[in-house]
């Protein structure tokens, strides 16, 4: 049931967050003045640089740590990060690309059925939690995968995890549970 339905279910990765370090101190003012598409936030102490080709926004700190967000795949994130490092290199800093790590992946997926959240929470007591006063979705946390799944009553789910593989596994894991608590459609 899983594999056949996996083909039907497309998991759309909407955001990948990655960090890396340049191992050298960066002068934010130089970057701000000599780079295109940069926003300098001196109060916080960082520069936001947006790349166009892989659509990526990078937060650059003067210590040399950089966070890249907005990529749609892990490879894209890496490419964007390298482009960014190259750009900084051209600006004159002795940049070395190190410690690249994908930190977070956000994916959305839509089930073809509605889900009865209360039953779902009851069946998966400690792992799932549902607080209608606070958030309309039930939260299901898979500890060993370190993934969090938010289940909405319409059947769409959002999954966040440390890498794409985990996210896919999480969806596979949770699918049968959701299938049990589905709400039969009337129309």
């Amino acid at each position: 049931m899983d594999s056949s339905n996996d083909d039907a279910l497309d998991i759309i990765v909407s955001n990948v967050v990655a960090t890396f370090r340049t191992r050298c101190h960066l002068n934010l003012r130089t970057i701000a003045l000599e780079g295109t598409n940069v926003i300098y936030k001196p109060e916080v102490g960082k520069v936001l640089m947006k790349l166009r080709k892989p659509k990526i926004t990078a937060s650059i700190w003067s210590s040399g740590k950089i966070i890249c967000t907005g990529a749609t795949s892990e490879d894209e994130a890496k490419q964007g990060a390298r482009r960014l490092a190259r750009c900084l290199q051209k600006l004159g800093f002795k940049v070395r690309f190190s410690a690249f790590k994908v930190v977070n992946v956000l994916a959305v997926c839509s089930m073809p059925f509605a889900i009865h959240l209360i039953d779902f929470t009851k069946n998966n007591r400690p792992i799932a939690s549902y607080e209608p006063e606070l958030h309309p979705a039930a939260t299901y946390r898979i500890k060993n995968l370190k993934a969090t799944i938010q289940v909405f009553s319409t059947g769409s789910i959002t999954v966040t995890g440390p890498n794409v593989q985990n996210v896919a596994t999480a969806v596979e894991q949770v699918y049968p549970l959701l299938f049990e608590c589905q709400k039969p459609l009337c129309e």
Partner: protein
């Protein structure tokens, strides 16, 4: 209190009267001790007239070391930190729980939760308030009481989501599975608040049925239960002919108008809404509905589908049009003389060159019929950018030539567009960045390569990165200048601030007063002051601890000098430990710090005096002396009046004392407590006067001399004597 040998007769038979606090020798009748510490139970009147015993439980299995009197912690001495935390937690739970009208059983359960939380160290890094609220809400959920998280956040004035976060965390850590909220729980509560009088029960029942119906129609998943209740109650009220407006309901239910209306609309969409009142009460429809958001998204999906179909049809039509267009263009070209070859392209202006680039770049990728369309699209896109590219011809010219084949149609199109664009160029001026990016876009399309492995040495792997493209991200000198100017102007304020800050730091460094960010200085444990008498002890302590420079010691001295006559006599009677005076002194300081407004309000005359004094004392130092003299007189009057107005003030001060005792946390030293018990009037009075005085003198600049605390103590003695 030890039975000693009598000094006069040498007899060892000494009668110690606990109540009177005196030790008398039965042989000769000489009084050996008077006013020793009595171990009597003192009672104190609390708020609401409740009398409670003064004192604290010291656990038998607590810390073995003797509690340090006075010095050491200001908090409850003799208790460990854990016990203190639990005690404070219990108190807060009682307080909050009583506001929610929870019964004792619930409060006890909440306290148990709290104990579990503390033992799991989950209180670290969280406000105790939040933790307490979360514990209480856990109890509410497990017991099924109709309390909402919103109520708790209202009481605490905290964002409900913050509380919710804490609550979720605690529930997870304690593995407590709180049952899901049923909107039916809230109905009786809200119905009661809406005041339906005798028919409350009926309306509640109707509303319950409505809510159940809503549940079956899938309106309740993912929604706040209070919203549903509001809608149900509104309808139920109307059904029973009560006129309750939307505003009434939302004020009770705590949702906003929009939400309520939305719920009503959703309910309207269900088939149940078509029934009449009677039918509804009798019949239950079998059919169930989809959740409203589901239907909405389905609706959206349908719309999207329709749009897609439309756009596809449009595309087809467009394709036809562009085909025609191309054919026309090619016909036109045929009628004109063409230049072939790369070199011919150079002879022309560079705009067509660029357009060639566009066409050539896209060529290798799409050698199909769609190429024309793509080019058309690319042309449309680049029209705006072409104008500015003229400026960058030098740089571009070298890069863009690679062996290209020109396509006649493309060139012609380019030239056609170029004429239109020339004017654009003049108008728009130089915006090289956009154009360069345009170039980037095209070049990078061709230079897409797969990524390589990570290099662990930190070397930047340059595969797949086009240098030229990257360079587009960097502005050239003129651009840098422009941007610098802009940025400087924009952030002028911030830069100004930074400059000032630096200058200030420089100055301070020169002066030698420069401090790094003042870190919170840890409270040093106060050393025991060893002295033979109280006065000496206080003097020593004062030397160590520098008293504020804002206190006018002259006045203090004068104040105390009045009492020194009698105060001197009583001071030897004071127990010869450094503790109590220190404790009292600290108590005063603490009281001062806490600026107990209660003190001011309650003791009417003192506050009146205070007002007069404050009027006299202005912030200018010139008036100070006059003011000080005035304060002298005033405080003299105060000290006179205090003993005179015996009953009134005593009562006031007693209540004041109890207030202060209740205000100061139970971790207060046990010392001040038993002492405030027997001497409720004096310390507060003196403390109060001192409080006011010192604060008044604070308003005026203080003198440099250090007052001897003996005088301060003497003051106490004086008061005490006169009162008793």
């Amino acid at each position: 209190m030890s039975s000693r040998v009598c000094k006069t007769c040498g007899g060892s038979d000494i009668d110690v009267d606990q109540a009177r606090g005196s030790a008398v020798c039965t042989g000769c009748g000489s009084v050996l001790e008077d006013n020793i510490i009595v171990s009597e139970v003192q009672f104190v009147e609390g708020s609401g007239g409740v009398s409670s015993a003064v004192g604290q439980f010291v656990s038998a299995d607590g810390p073995v070391k003797a509690p340090l009197l006075g010095s050491g912690f200001h908090t409850s001495v003799g208790k460990e930190s854990r016990a203190q935390t639990l005690q404070s937690g219990k108190r807060q739970i009682q307080q909050l729980g009583s506001q929610l009208q929870l019964n004792q059983h619930c409060l006890d359960t909440a306290f148990n939760f709290f104990k579990m939380v503390v033992s799991k160290h989950l209180t670290r890094g969280r406000k105790t308030e939040h933790v307490i609220a979360a514990c209480l809400y856990l109890v509410c959920r497990t017991e099924g009481t109709p309390h909402m998280l919103l109520d708790l956040s209202d009481l605490l004035q905290v964002n409900v989501y913050i509380l919710g976060k804490t609550f979720l965390l605690l529930a997870r850590e304690l593995c407590i599975n709180a049952p899901a909220i049923d909107p039916c729980l809230y109905i009786p509560r809200f119905a009661h608040m809406l005041e339906f009088g005798a028919k409350t029960h009926e309306v509640s029942m109707t509303a319950l049925r409505l809510v159940q119906r809503m549940k079956r129609d899938w309106m309740h998943t993912g929604r706040r239960p209070s919203g549903l209740c509001g809608a149900a109650l509104l309808v139920a009220a109307r059904m029973h002919k009560f006129r309750r407006t939307v505003k009434d309901v939302i004020s009770v239910v705590k949702v906003c108008q929009t939400t309520l209306r939305k719920r009503l609309t959703e309910f309207e969409d269900t088939p149940t809404s078509q029934l009449t009142i009677d039918e509804f009460m009798r019949v239950d429809l079998e059919q169930e509905c989809d959740p409203p958001s589901f239907t909405a998204s389905q609706h959206k999906a349908k719309m999207q589908q329709l749009e897609q179909e439309l756009s596809r049809k449009l595309d087809d039509v467009e394709g036809e049009i562009s085909c025609y267009k191309d054919e026309i263009e090619s016909e036109l070209e045929k009628s004109r003389p063409k230049l072939r070859g790369i070199y011919a392209a150079y002879a022309k202006e560079l705009d067509p060159e660029d357009s060639e680039v566009l066409s050539v770049a896209s060529e290798p990728e799409d050698p199909d019929v769609e190429e024309n369309e793509l080019q058309a699209a690319a042309q449309h896109l680049t029209q705006e950018f072409l104008g500015q590219v003229i400026q960058e011809e030098e740089g571009l010219g070298s890069k863009t030539d690679v062996g290209k084949e020109e396509e006649a149609g493309a060139v012609k199109e380019g030239s056609v567009h170029q004429r239109q664009v020339a004017s654009l160029d003049i108008i728009l001026g130089k915006l090289p960045t956009a154009a360069s990016l345009q170039q980037t876009f095209i070049e990078s399309e061709s230079s897409d390569k797969p990524d390589d492995e990570q290099s662990e040495s930190g070397e930047l792997d340059l595969d797949g990165i086009d240098d030229q493209e990257i360079e587009k991200y960097i502005l050239n000198e003129r651009e840098v200048q422009v941007k610098t100017d802009l940025w400087m102007k924009q952030n002028a304020e911030y830069l100004q601030e930074q400059k000032e800050k630096e200058e200030r730091i420089k100055k301070e460094k020169e002066q030698g007063t420069y401090k790094e960010k003042p870190k919170k200085s840890k409270k040093k444990k106060k050393e025991l002051v060893e002295a033979s008498s109280a006065g000496e002890a206080i003097e020593r302590m004062l030397e160590k601890k520098k008293i504020s420079s804002k206190i006018n010691y002259d006045v203090l001295r004068d104040l105390n000098s009045r009492g020194t006559g009698s105060g001197g006599g009583s001071s030897p009677n004071r127990p010869p430990s450094a503790g109590p005076p220190d404790a009292r002194k600290k108590l005063n300081r603490r009281r001062r710090r806490k600026t107990s407004d209660a003190n001011r309000d309650l003791a009417a005359n003192a506050s009146l005096m205070g007002k007069r004094v404050r009027l006299l004392i202005s912030s200018t130092p010139k008036k100070k002396k006059a003011a000080n003299q005035a304060t002298d007189q005033v405080t003299d009057q105060v000290t006179d009046e205090v003993p005179n107005k015996a009953t009134n003030q005593e009562e006031n001060l007693v209540t004041m004392a109890t207030d202060t005792t209740t205000e100061t946390p139970p971790e207060a030293t046990p010392d001040p407590k038993p002492q405030t018990g027997p001497t409720p009037t004096a310390p507060p009075a003196a403390g109060e006067e001192e409080e006011e005085e010192e604060e008044e003198e604070g308003e005026g600049e203080g003198e440099e001399e250090c007052v001897s605390a003996l005088q301060l103590v003497g003051d106490y003695g004086c008061e005490e004597e006169e009162v008793f």
